[in-house]
């Protein structure tokens, strides 16, 4: 019964399909910082399928400074202790022997006083928040040395990795020590929390190869960011849930669909209706259609084909032959005004005839005619049948790399990414998009009708009749899409020559959801994080070493395109800084934060470590120098805004001093905000609803502001 459902409130946001997607996901957390724990907490509560917490052993003090480590541990246990049974007294000392129940791997290397690893503790405490969630943990000797590629490969296997043969006792083995038996989630999402570039760059690379979404979270002093890296080839969004959507009424399509035409022809000309109640209860849709007819007659004379309007503006693509010459609708400002005045004239008393009033307010629906938008067109262009067929059929390693990107300008030699395979979810999306493309071709670029109408002043019967007309047409469109999809699958079948297809026919629900949202389809493709660093930070030793071991990525035209796009975007953004206080523009602080990371790459510790004033000032100088470098490699040095607020020595040094002052501190409250944002993006990536940020969300806790950038 619904009343017993603890997920009731969220189901109302993302529905059963969203909840299913969550339940099928394994979230891997790399690093157990407060921020990462917060992120995971917000995913455990709504019921993600399972989690895997990965961290290095406590005693390794390479990666993060020891002090930060204890602090972190401390904060974690503080955070986590309510998760334990309230009726148990809190543990005597903050980080000591919290009993980890499903712990079979770590903590028992001999009888050392060493308690369970961070990963184990965090995992145990988080799973207590929601008994539905299966928890796993893994303590690696070093996060930097982990082979993320093969690590992800084991996860992707539906087979549970055999619990390392009592390697459980030797937590030093870098293989996993999964404590639970079942491990068959369908999708994986990786969260990297507060790791240095030596960890997140290889991770980014591995996630890219394995087509696994990655979220990098960082909370540093009063600053933080969330970076989204979409899986290959891209992240499809069917339910984009735009914050406002126009009703899909098709009033100006030509001809209007049969059901609507029936409604129109069965309603008397409102000018001839004398009964005031009848007049005032005709739905505004009828009012608008009659007004449009008048307008056309007035413009063209005669109801026939609009032969006199052949001059210039058939702005849309040439109408398909079967449609005949399309009747025009008001397009210019003057025409629109003319149309409105026709509606006004039709009304007898605008103050009392609500339906006419509504018709005036909704007149824009006449010229917003519901054809597919540029945004959706861009989505359609990304999918072509040839590569879809290849990808749908091939289930083994792709030999010629032809599936990469699923399209784009076909025929170009694309670099091979090796084991990369288009995920089934994307194939499903492509199938429906291809069906849509064919549908559009046959339907004058009108997508399937949504089939719902807004509330309006009307009597019940006419409203119901109208509703019915739209619903039926939507059903027809939907079954057309279904048929096309089926025939596409048949083609796959034929080409498969016996092999199994990697795709099945979508369910009716899925087809319906797709049709309802076809006006708002989106694709999100972010630049991989490692590519971003490669281009921005070629001097970094980390990047350099990475680059030497990796095939060049800039060969991918997609990454290039995104890159140059992002550059333009970024420059444009700098034209338009934070209104009241330009210094608080999040972009500046992100550069400062990146400079701290660069500092770490050089020194293996963060700036501000040494408390003496001179040391602090020296660190600030170096951070400032890094900031200038980074701004330069981002191509921002010509921006006036950057010149004024970052390149300017005095102002730039102020920024640097502020971040040096943080001394790598993680403030719980900032971690909570950033973790909240990160988990929200994670939910978007997992459920495929809403469009995730593209690609970096920068939070500035000094001014409580946040911006989204593509760096």
């Amino acid at each position: 019964m619904a009343t017993d459902d603890k997920y009731d409130r969220q189901l109302r946001l993302w529905g059963a399909s969203g909840q299913r997607a969550l339940g099928n996901t394994l979230v891997v957390l790399v690093g157990t910082s407060a921020c990462g724990t917060e992120t995971l907490k917000n995913l455990v509560l709504p019921g993600v399928g399972s989690i895997l917490v990965v961290d290095d052993d406590d005693d390794v003090d390479g990666a993060v400074t020891t002090r930060a480590r204890t602090e972190l541990t401390d904060s974690l246990s503080k955070f986590a202790s309510p998760a334990s049974n309230f009726f148990l007294p809190p543990p005597p000392s903050s980080s000591s022997s919290r009993c980890v129940r499903n712990d079979d791997g770590d903590g028992d290397d001999g009888n050392s006083p060493r308690p369970a690893s961070n990963a184990a503790r965090v995992c145990a405490l988080l799973t207590e928040l929601n008994p539905d969630v299966v928890g796993h943990h893994l303590a690696a000797p070093s996060l930097e040395d982990l082979d993320y590629d093969s690590f992800l490969a084991t996860l992707a296997n539906d087979q549970p990795p055999p619990p390392p043969p009592s390697s459980s006792s030797s937590s030093s083995s870098s293989s996993s020590s999964f404590s639970s038996t079942t491990m068959t989630p369908r999708t994986v999402l990786v969260v990297s929390a507060d790791q240095p570039s030596t960890v997140f760059l290889p991770l980014s690379r591995a996630c890219h190869r394995r087509s696994t979404p990655l979220i990098v979270v960082r909370s540093y002093g009063l600053l933080g960011y969330v970076r989204v890296q979409t899986p290959m080839p891209y992240h499809p969004v069917i339910e984009a849930r735009p914050s406002h959507r126009l009703p899909d009424l098709r009033l100006s399509s030509w001809p209007i669909f049969d059901g609507l035409a029936d409604v129109l022809s069965s309603s008397t000309d409102l000018d001839d209706v004398t009964d005031t109640r009848d007049r005032s209860h005709a739905p505004f849709v009828v009012v608008l259609l009659q007004a449009l007819d008048k307008w056309r007659r007035r413009r063209g004379g005669g109801r026939g084909v609009g032969e006199c309007d052949d001059d210039d503006d058939d702005d849309a693509a040439a109408p398909p032959a079967n449609v005949g010459r399309r009747q025009r609708h008001p397009e210019t400002g003057a025409e629109k005004e003319e149309f409105r005045s026709i509606v006004r004239d039709m009304a007898r008393d605008l103050n009392h005839e609500m339906n006419f009033k509504e018709a005036l307010q909704e007149a824009h629906l006449i010229w917003a005619d519901g054809r597919i938008s540029e945004d959706v067109r861009a989505v359609l262009d990304r999918v072509d049948e040839g590569s879809f067929l290849r990808a749908a059929v091939k289930s083994d390693m792709d030999v010629d790399g032809g599936v990469e990107g699923g399209g784009g300008e076909a025929g170009e030699g694309r670099p091979s990414y090796g084991g990369f395979e288009i995920p089934p979810r994307v194939l499903q999306f492509q199938l429906l998009v291809l069906a849509l493309k064919r549908f559009l071709k046959a339907n004058d670029d009108y997508p399937p009708l949504e089939g719902t109408i807004p509330d309006m002043t009307s009597d019940t019967a006419r409203y119901v009749a109208l509703q019915e007309a739209y619903r039926r047409q939507a059903e027809r469109d939907r079954s057309a899409i279904r048929e096309i999809a089926k025939s596409l699958l048949d083609e796959c079948e034929r080409q498969s020559s016996g092999c199994d297809l990697r795709i099945a026919m979508p369910t009716d629900d899925e087809v319906q959801t797709f049709c309802k949202n076809s006006r708002y389809l989106r694709i999100l493709e972010t630049r991989p994080l490692f590519a971003e660093y490669e281009l921005q930070d070629p001097a970094s030793p980390v990047v350099a070493s990475l680059a030497s071991t990796l095939p060049s990525t800039s060969a991918s035209h997609n990454i290039d395109a995104i890159q140059s796009d992002a550059r333009d975007d970024l420059l444009a953004t700098t034209m338009d800084p934070h209104e009241t206080d330009p210094v608080q523009t999040p972009m500046l602080w992100w550069i400062a934060l990146r400079a701290c990371d660069a500092f770490y790459d050089r020194h293996q510790h963060y700036p501000g470590k040494h408390d003496q004033e001179l040391a602090l000032e020296a660190d600030a100088n170096e951070v400032y120098w890094c900031m200038v470098q980074i701004a330069g490699s981002m191509g921002l040095t010509e921006s006036d805004f950057i010149k004024e607020h970052l390149l300017d020595r005095v102002r730039g040094k102020d920024l640097a001093r502020e971040v040096v002052r943080y001394d790598e501190a993680e403030i719980h409250n900032i971690a909570a905000v950033v973790g909240g944002v990160a988990s929200q993006e994670a939910v978007k990536l997992i459920t495929g609803q809403y469009v995730p940020v593209d690609d970096t969300y920068v939070y500035n806790g000094i001014a409580s502001t946040a911006g989204v950038y593509r760096f």
């Binding site: 619904a2 204890t70 005031t276 019940t460 009749a465 809403y690 001014a703």
Partner: protein, 779 residues
């Protein structure tokens, strides 16, 4: 953020490791402030849990929590301090206990005792107050004054208003927050800093449906759901006349007499047709009454009230009104449960037949649907027969799910089995059953409402038929709530806490007045779509108070109603308490106190005035042009109400060619607050285009609030924050678009929650949200 330059940490007192970060970022003096400040938290739900955790981990040692609620299963997906073992326990107790464990241990005693702020080394205390914030004996101005600031984590408007007023009265800063789905917002209210208060801006009103739409011309599922809730009230409510479906005494009495004549005993089945016929006749006679009395939109005396009255007495909701009048009000004969079940089933058949057959036929007969292409189709008698247990109730089936959609017969069976359940519980004398008011979490109530609503949808051919899950969303005004947004908003709130404390610290250090919060605190929206500048968190300056706010600016409230009909009692209940939110009002006309309330006041003193019409009150009466002064000492609030008399109320939606026609609202609903504004907004929408967004919006609010119904509202899926949907640089544009929001448009708006979420300030209708787009299209 801090003015401490880079300093060395060597000379600072020791600090718990977890707070080192705070000290590094915020400075030692603010840390001390954090350790010693007393914080009041109102609400320990979704945001409250996050806040408690954040406060504890930020080092706060003195927090008091007020909450009335107990823990429910549906809380567990986000209120992470609770486990299933806690279901049923008070939220504030469990939450503050949990949070206290997270508080870092006090720092070891500093070697040189720094400042006298050694309070910080006291034991930390997180005190729960399980109670209602409306309880003035506990939560009053002196109580609020103990705190450095107040954090709101509430889920309803009424309580937010109360806290707002108490904070204004006690001069304590309030940090307010709310979420809805992925959206959220945080703001700071401080009287001394001259910020907008919570009540300066209109709260988006609940969606209101014209009575006639509900009663006779539904076109959407939600109309049927609202109708079914009214039916629930009609069946089980303590006062049958509170239901919108209640039909008046005249017809009822007539009908009852008819019953007395006609019904001897005999079983319900045969009476059915009998009933039907008779009611139709009474209906015809009734039309004459309507012409005369004219108050009822649908007209005619009731087709169903007779059966309903019998049902109520059978269920033990009402004492049998006229014993022996009906064979089935057999409560006097203390029947066995089996008898009751069959009696209820036969009465249920009668009621369902009256509602879904007779009433519909009557309306058809009156020509209500004469212009309709498709007239509603009454249920068939075989459908109605499903009452008699021939079809199993759908919720008894194996494997039934809340998302099932029930057939006509299943709906009928479900209603019957709900009624039987209620009757059996009445006999078992379970006092909590049924709930007098509809509650979305009550299983029987939800089953009843779903089934009744769907039957109506079937009759009117409205689609889609709702599953219980869908109906619950509509009926319960459920706002989606998720963990992630709560986490963000609570984090932002605590950051505002730091700002407030820093400002207070400055005052302590440097003297001065305080009240500088506008300089450091911000109103923050969490947006769903980034703005053109790429912002997803949009901080804006704290707005100035609305000069017309009667709460913080003592503005005069204008009120229009029929002063010859309204009694003081009606005025107090509907306007003073419900609309203006007074708790213990004192009402004065000139120097005469006409009403007073409170602990030490004898209620009988003014009892005589309560029944008086407003014009007849002492002190010259409260007729057209008079001014009432209303005070509430518990909230330190005083307001002047200027009364204008108005006796003509036109129903806009049932307009017949300009003829003024009474809109059939109950007298209690016929009033307008801020009436003058309303006229201006309706008649001259072009004028209001010149206005700034604030006044345009408040006009709109008043227009809509005048029509505010009970708890009829809808959740819109998409909320858009005010003025930030496109580009904050274009307020003029946005507001002018908004200014077009004439009364009608506003009425049409399905504003997002009112009751449950807090993001109300930050959003207005989708209609407005898309305006910037449209302006492009239109130009």
């Amino acid at each position: 953020m801090t003015d401490d330059a880079i300093t060395s940490n060597d000379d600072l007192p020791p600090c718990p490791p977890i707070l080192l970060g705070i000290r590094a970022a915020l400075g030692q003096s603010l840390l001390e402030e954090i350790l010693s400040s007393k914080i009041l938290l109102i609400g320990s739900g979704g945001i409250g849990c996050e806040l408690l955790k954040n406060l504890a981990l930020s080092g706060f040692r003195h927090v008091e929590v007020v909450d009335l609620d107990t823990i429910d299963v549906s809380n567990l997906n986000r209120q992470f301090l609770f486990r299933s073992v806690h279901v049923g326990m008070p939220k504030c107790v469990v939450a503050s206990e949990a949070a206290l464990r997270m508080v870092p241990p006090p720092p070891p005693p500093p070697s040189p005792p720094p400042t006298p702020t050694t309070r910080s080394s006291q034991a930390a205390a997180y005190l729960p107050h399980h109670g209602n914030v409306f309880d003035n004996s506990r939560f009053n101005v002196p109580f609020f004054q103990k705190f450095a600031l107040v954090l709101n984590a509430l889920d309803n408007v009424a309580a937010r208003r109360r806290v707002n007023r108490l904070c204004l009265a006690s001069d304590v800063p309030l940090i307010e927050a709310g979420t809805a789905g992925y959206l959220g917002q945080v703001t700071v209210i401080d009287r001394r800093s001259g910020t907008e208060c919570y009540e300066c801006q209109p709260k988006p009103t609940q969606k209101v449906y014209p009575i006639c739409t509900i009663r006779s011309t539904p076109s959407q599922p939600v109309h049927c759901v609202v109708w079914a809730k009214e039916l629930y009230r009609l069946c089980f409510g303590p006062k049958v006349e509170d239901s919108m479906l209640y039909e008046d005494e005249e017809g009822l009495r007539e009908r009852r007499e008819g019953d007395d004549d006609g019904d001897g005993d005999g079983d319900g089945d045969e009476k059915k047709d009998d009933d039907g016929r008779r009611t139709t006749t009474t209906g015809d006679e009734g039309s004459a009454d309507v012409a005369a009395g004219g108050a009822k939109g649908g007209g005619g005396s009731s087709a169903y009230m007779g059966a309903m009255t019998d049902l109520r007495s059978l269920l033990g909701v009402d004492p049998a009104s006229s014993p022996g009048s009906s064979s089935s009000s057999s409560s006097s004969t203390s029947p066995t449960p089996y008898d009751v079940a069959s009696a209820v089933r036969s009465k249920a058949r009668e009621v369902i037949s009256a509602l879904f057959v007779t009433e519909i036929e009557k309306q058809i007969g009156m020509g209500t649907y004469r212009t309709a292409d498709r007239a509603p189709e009454p249920l068939s008698s075989s459908d109605v027969d499903s009452c008699r247990d021939v079809v199993p109730s759908p919720t008894m089936r194996d494997g039934c799910a809340p998302t099932d959609v029930w057939s006509v017969r299943e709906c009928v069976a479900e209603i019957a089995s709900c009624l039987v359940e209620v009757a059996e519980n009445a006999i078992a004398q379970d006092p909590t059953f049924p709930l007098p008011e509809f509650d979305k979490d009550d299983d029987v109530a939800m089953r009843f409402v779903t089934a009744a609503s769907n039957l109506r949808s079937y009759v009117f051919g409205i689609e889609p038929i709702q599953s219980m899950y869908d109906a619950k969303g509509m009926a319960g005004n459920i706002i989606p709530a998720i963990a992630t947004t709560n986490a963000i908003v609570a984090g932002l709130q605590v950051l505002q806490v730091f700002h407030v404390l820093r400002a207070q610290l400055d005052v302590k250090k440097n003297g001065g007045e305080g009240g500088k919060l506008k300089e450091c605190c911000r109103y923050i929206y969490c947006l769903r779509d980034k703005t053109r500048k790429g912002y997803l968190l949009q901080p804006t300056t704290l707005p100035d108070p609305n000069p017309e706010c009667f709460v913080c600016r003592n503005a005069i409230v204008s009120l229009a109603l029929n002063t010859n009909e309204w009694t003081l009692d009606m005025l107090l209940k509907r306007v003073v308490k419900k609309e203006l939110g007074f708790a213990e009002p004192t009402v004065m006309i000139g120097e005469d106190i006409v009403y007073e309330e409170g602990e030490d006041i004898d209620p009988s003193e003014y009892a005589a005035n309560l029944a008086k019409k407003m014009v007849d009150l002492p002190g010259g009466g409260a007729g057209h042009g008079s001014v009432l002064r209303i005070e509430d000492f518990t909230q330190d609030l005083e307001v002047e109400v200027s009364v204008s008399h108005r006796d003509c109320w036109v129903d806009v939606d049932e307009e017949k060619g300009g003829e003024a026609k009474d809109d059939g609202r109950a007298e209690m609903e016929k009033f307008e607050i801020g009436g003058k504004k309303l006229v201006a907004a309706t008649a001259a929408s072009s004028d209001s285009m010149k206005g700034d967004s604030v006044s345009a919006e408040s006009d709109g609010f008043r227009a809509a609030s005048a029509n505010e119904g009970e708890d009829v509202l809808l959740v819109e899926e998409n909320y858009v924050p005010r003025g930030v949907n496109e580009d904050s640089k274009m307020p003029a544009q946005t507001s002018s678009e908004h200014g077009n929001g004439s009364k009608e448009q506003l009425k049409k708006r399905a504003f997002a929650d009112q009751a449950e979420n807090g993001a109300k300030k930050a959003k207005f209708n989708v209609e407005d949200a898309k305006k910037p787009d449209l302006s492009e299209v239109m130009s």
